[in-house]
Symmetry: C2
Subunit: 199 residues, 2 copies
């Protein structure tokens, strides 16, 4: 005997999430069965909306409901500095820190030849185009994770941009090697921004 089809399907869906195996998925599915109808409807709707209502900002690549995004649209942000990050989550981490008032550029990943991720697969071209169109930019802060891929992506971008005479900096040591920006606390991030070094 198998689980009734609707619950088997839900278990399968939960198992597609990272770090959730069959036992946990089963527990979550049965828990869902006992949740209030309204919570489950909201959950179901929010899943659909996250895919339908969120898009990449045509300027910086961050996720947004409106294009261009809130940060790119905001004239009070410092237009002379662009911080290059890997993921939308990294933008949120810096925004929560509250000390940075410039713009962002979200790569959507890092160079990783082993995984078939070359310069065409991440938003590097759009960054170059952005710099060519806009003379105001004085500094690029490379805020990539301190992984081997993050480091080599930083070097690659640095070499592309430096000939144009724009200052390129990267975050100071302060981030533990191998750790994720996403999980760093605000003070660690603040120190990393303050102590950024010129490449």
């Amino acid at each position: 005997m198998q689980y009734p089809l609707p619950i088997a399907r839900l278990i399968e869906s939960y198992m597609k999430l990272p770090g959730i195996g069959e036992k946990t998925a089963t527990r979550l599915a049965f828990y869902t069965l006992d949740m209030p109808q309204e919570d489950v409807s909201d959950f179901s709707k929010s899943l659909m909306q996250v895919k339908s209502d969120l898009h990449a900002c045509s300027i910086c690549g961050n996720i947004t409901e409106s294009d261009p995004c809130e940060i790119c649209r905001n004239p009070e942000r410092d237009q002379s500095t662009i911080m290059v990050v890997e993921q939308p989550k990294d933008v949120m981490a810096f925004e929560e820190m509250g000390e940075y008032n410039g713009l962002y550029h979200v790569l959507g990943g890092v160079l990783s030849p082993m995984d078939g991720v070359g310069p065409e697969e991440i938003n590097i071209k759009s960054l170059i185009t952005r710099l060519q169109k806009n003379d105001d930019v004085k500094e690029i802060i490379l805020a990539l994770n301190s992984t081997p891929e993050g480091e080599s992506t930083a070097m690659y971008i640095s070499k592309l941009i430096k000939p144009a005479g724009i200052k390129v900096s990267r975050l100071a040591a302060g981030l533990a090697v191998g750790s994720d920006i996403e999980y760093a606390n605000a003070i660690t991030l603040k120190r990393a921004v303050q102590g950024r070094t010129t490449l």
Copy 2:
């Protein structure tokens, strides 16, 4: 700055699941954003269907798509034995074991005066009605978790049923005290069924 509304809503929904805090919910929400459209649609649909397509069997109280459920409808199951369990998941555990061919009765919980769960809140009345309507039943196996609540629920049901001259048994020791039937392996369950003792 906050997360865009669709992602904030999805994070909130994930946080309603057991054992998922804000950091994990955020990670799951961003992961969902990168999942194939089809997988997210399936996930969304299966959430709705699990609430709309599954009901309690009017005879045994187990979850089912059709009423009565597959087990209650099956004439090849031994109609003389009813195993009383707490949750639909427990039925699945015994069905996976494959050694039991009788019927089930799903209480949907255990007596717990501290949490306001009395005899009216779980399917005890329907079990008594079932026994009154059906003279074929010769034995009731109480397969409740070996928690204080499970034990006292077993005693309560046993006292109700014994005057009717029906044999009442409970699972043998073999289940570790404090553990859940749901997570026991098939051999442990098999031993517990074989060694059941008369109350």
